[in-house]
């Protein structure tokens, strides 16, 4: 059971690193959807294990918002903008991948340090969540296209959700619903802004 849960969180990290290594935006959105699905499965594992209604609810709303709705709107915006490839990057893909690897190692070190001070939650999940967080931030900084910034932000958000669902059995459902709803609206607004900025640059 635990091994399967660990597989899911490893796949989250893999999807982020794949995102770093690929310049294709459509693929990146698919990866985000996949990453959220893995997160949802991880939550489901917890829900089965602890038999917690809270986590079942969390699983359902993660599927609805993160796996379906947000990628759907991002695809729709992408279609209107007609962009397929990230061209502007501050550092090249090979360097970025190496950098992502070092960030993972760094978060492992930090996690070990925190575990030593007597904290109970699993160092493995914490490492992955911290690494996802840092790589998401790196994506936002190193890429210039607006879509990549959104995806970086979403990755950061997933990392925090992972942490929330691993150190506790999920936040109270009301709060989690509010957070996801805010996230969803912010994606809508950002898509709107992309369209407007595109139109302004074109004219």
């Amino acid at each position: 059971m635990e091994k399967i849960a660990e597989l899911f969180i490893i796949l989250i990290l893999v999807s982020v690193v794949l995102n770093v290594s690929s310049p294709f935006i459509k693929f990146a959105i698919k990866l985000y959807s996949f990453q959220s699905l893995m997160l949802a499965f991880y939550i489901l594992m917890g829900a089965v294990h602890f038999n917690s209604i809270n986590l079942y609810g969390s699983f359902a709303i993660t599927i609805i918002f993160k796996v379906i709705l947000i990628p759907y709107f991002l695809f729709k915006t992408l279609k209107k903008v007609k962009m397929d490839k990230e061209i502007n990057m501050y550092i090249g893909i090979p360097e970025a991948v190496v950098f992502a690897g070092s960030l993972t190692l760094l978060s492992n070190l930090i996690a070990q340090k925190i575990i030593k001070t007597g904290i109970t939650f699993g160092s493995f999940v914490f490492t992955i969540s911290l690494a996802t967080f840092l790589i998401g931030a790196m994506l936002m900084i190193t890429r210039k296209t607006l879509f990549s910034q959104i995806l970086g932000f979403l990755t950061i958000d997933n990392a925090i959700f992972l942490a929330a669902n691993s150190i506790t059995h999920g936040m109270p459902l009301l709060v989690e619903l509010g957070v996801l709803f805010d996230l969803f609206v912010s994606i809508l607004i950002l898509s709107l802004l992309i369209l407007n900025l595109r139109r302004n640059v074109a004219s």
């Binding site: 809270n54 001070t117 007597g118 904290i119 939650f121 931030a137 936002m140 607006l146 910034q149 959104i150 932000f153 950061i156 958000d157 925090i160 942490a163 929330a164 150190i167 506790t168 059995h169 999920g170 936040m171 109270p172 009301l174 709060v175 509010g178 957070v179 709803f181 805010d182 609206v185 912010s186 607004i189 950002l190 802004l193 407007n196 900025l197 302004n200 640059v201």
Partner: protein, 508 residues
């Protein structure tokens, strides 16, 4: 405590939100006036009769002395902004902007006020977070209200930076939740601020420290603390003037409230060094903004940087403790008032001339007699000069700083002089200066950028009386407050300062 009245603080803005969907803009401006006056009166009655923490709406919301200070600030500034908007909407519609656009304006503005109220009053840190993020989203489309390329870019930066910042704040709340769930179990109680405070001593200190740092960085992004401030001058200068006033005057304080809550939790657990973090961030913010003010060329950005500087001073005051806390609490209210009047009156100049650059605007004394005076004295007031209320707040903070560390006080003092020179010098040039570029008309006629500016609007005469006189009234009010602060307000400030360990006998 009047529980019915407490409910009203949330119900009235919600009602305004619903009305703004269905009502015609001109009717809405009357309704908005009525609702803002009602909110102000409700808060006034609560402030006068307030004696202890009161819960309402099922314990999810509460009023204590600290959020009451911010509540009073919001309702006062919102009252002035509602009157200003009344004139603003009329003169913009007369200038050819569509009514539909202003329907959106009222809708988003009311959503912004409502979510801010939810944030301020919530007892639950999760709900606080949701409300704070909702304020970002509600103001995003207001910042891009003018639909220019610059405003869209400013909005982009604003939404991305604040969302990431607040996401870090969410991390802080998650860690806090983990800590408190060991006391209360996994329920809403573990996020309830009052419950967390009660359990303070039992909480894990390492985690609390971690959560405070994350909250400071996360919510600090939204407050505009120095290394994370890049979005602030753009977003605050691009929105319509009433929105800029609300953003600078009260939204920054709402985000600051989050940091203060974490600070209180740490203090309750017996952790005292978060104050050094506040001092560091506060000082750094004053430092960065002072130099940005000096080299600023756009007057709305100038005032945006001044907001940053004041947030730095407020954070510094909370970090120093003692009487500086009283200064900071006073400063929250006075700054909102003073910054509000600056943004509103500079909005008049912008609406009339369509010019953002300081060096293009000269001789306000001739074309904008009242607005010019308000801008001039407002700039004086915002840098803490005597006949205006902010002097009082700043003198308390500076006294506290000097008592704690004379060298820090000296440095801050020098920076404040820089700020004064930057702000007042620039506004003074706008007020009396002669036109300095050859291609403008002689006598310092205001230059307009052609297409955007209508002919009648290059002077104050064409403006609605409300938008000319509301900033003036705010200025007079600010001056009045220096000499007489109503006793209930003073009592609230003193009691709020006690919760931060401030000295109270200073007033007696």
């Amino acid at each position: 405590m009047h529980h019915k009245l407490l409910d009203l603080i949330l119900i009235l803005p919600a009602a305004a939100l619903i009305f703004s969907i269905f009502t015609d803009v001109l009717w809405m401006s009357y309704l908005q006036l009525a609702i803002s006056v009602l909110v102000f009166l409700t808060v006034g009655v609560i402030a006068v009769s307030f004696n202890s923490i009161a819960f309402f709406l099922g314990g999810f919301f509460f009023v204590d002395y600290i959020n009451l200070v911010i509540l009073i600030t919001v309702s006062t500034l919102e009252l002035f902004v509602a009157f200003y908007s009344f004139g603003y909407v009329r003169s913009e519609i007369a200038g050819g902007v569509s009514k539909r656009k202003f329907k959106f304006y009222y809708f988003w503005k009311n959503l912004f006020i409502f979510s801010m109220m939810v944030s301020i009053l919530s007892n639950n840190l999760g709900i606080y977070w949701t409300g704070l993020e909702a304020t970002t989203l509600a103001t995003a489309l207001l910042v891009s209200f003018n639909r220019t390329k610059e405003s869209f870019e400013a909005t982009w930066k604003y939404v991305i930076m604040c969302s990431v910042g607040i996401a870090i704040g969410l991390f802080a709340i998650v860690i806090l939740y983990f800590t408190t769930s060991q006391v209360y179990g996994e329920s809403m109680r573990s996020l309830s601020f009052i419950n967390i405070m009660q359990a303070g001593a039992k909480l894990d200190k390492n985690f609390l420290m971690l959560s405070f740092i994350l909250a400071l960085v996360g919510f600090g992004t939204k407050v505009g603390f120095a290394p994370m401030h890049n979005w602030l001058p753009d977003a605050h200068s691009q929105g319509p003037s009433p929105v800029s006033a609300l953003l600078s005057g009260v939204l920054l304080n709402t985000a600051l409230l989050g940091i203060l809550r974490f600070y209180q939790i740490n203090a309750a657990a017996g952790i005292h060094y978060p104050r050094y973090f506040l001092i560091c961030f506060g000082f750094l913010t004053i430092f960065v903004s002072a130099f940005s003010i000096i080299k600023q060329t756009d007057y709305k950005r100038l005032f945006a940087f001044s907001s940053m500087e004041n947030m730095g001073i407020i954070a510094l005051g909370f970090g120093i403790g003692g009487i500086a806390v009283i200064g900071s609490l006073l400063q929250i209210f006075f700054h909102a008032l003073n910054k509000g009047l600056l943004f509103l009156s500079s909005g008049n100049v912008l609406a009339a001339t369509h010019e953002r650059r300081i060096d293009k605007i000269r001789n306000l004394s001739k074309n904008f007699p009242i607005t010019g005076i308000v801008l001039l004295f407002g700039a004086m007031g915002i840098s803490g000069m005597p006949p205006f209320a902010m002097f009082l707040g700043e003198i308390y903070i500076m006294t506290g700083v000097f008592r704690t560390d004379i060298w820090l006080g000296f440095l801050v003092f020098i920076l404040l002089i820089f700020v004064f020179i930057g702000l007042f010098g620039k506004v003074l040039k706008m007020y009396v200066g002669k036109a300095n570029t050859g291609d403008e008309e002689e006598g310092g006629e205001l230059k307009t950028d052609g297409a955007g500016a209508s002919h009648k609007a290059v002077s104050e005469a064409g403006l609605h009386p409300f938008i000319v006189y509301v900033p003036l009234i705010m200025l007079l009010f600010s001056s009045f407050l220096l000499f007489y602060i109503p006793y209930p307000f003073l009592h609230i400030i003193k009691s709020a300062a006690v919760e931060f360990g401030g000295k109270v006998n200073f007033f007696k």
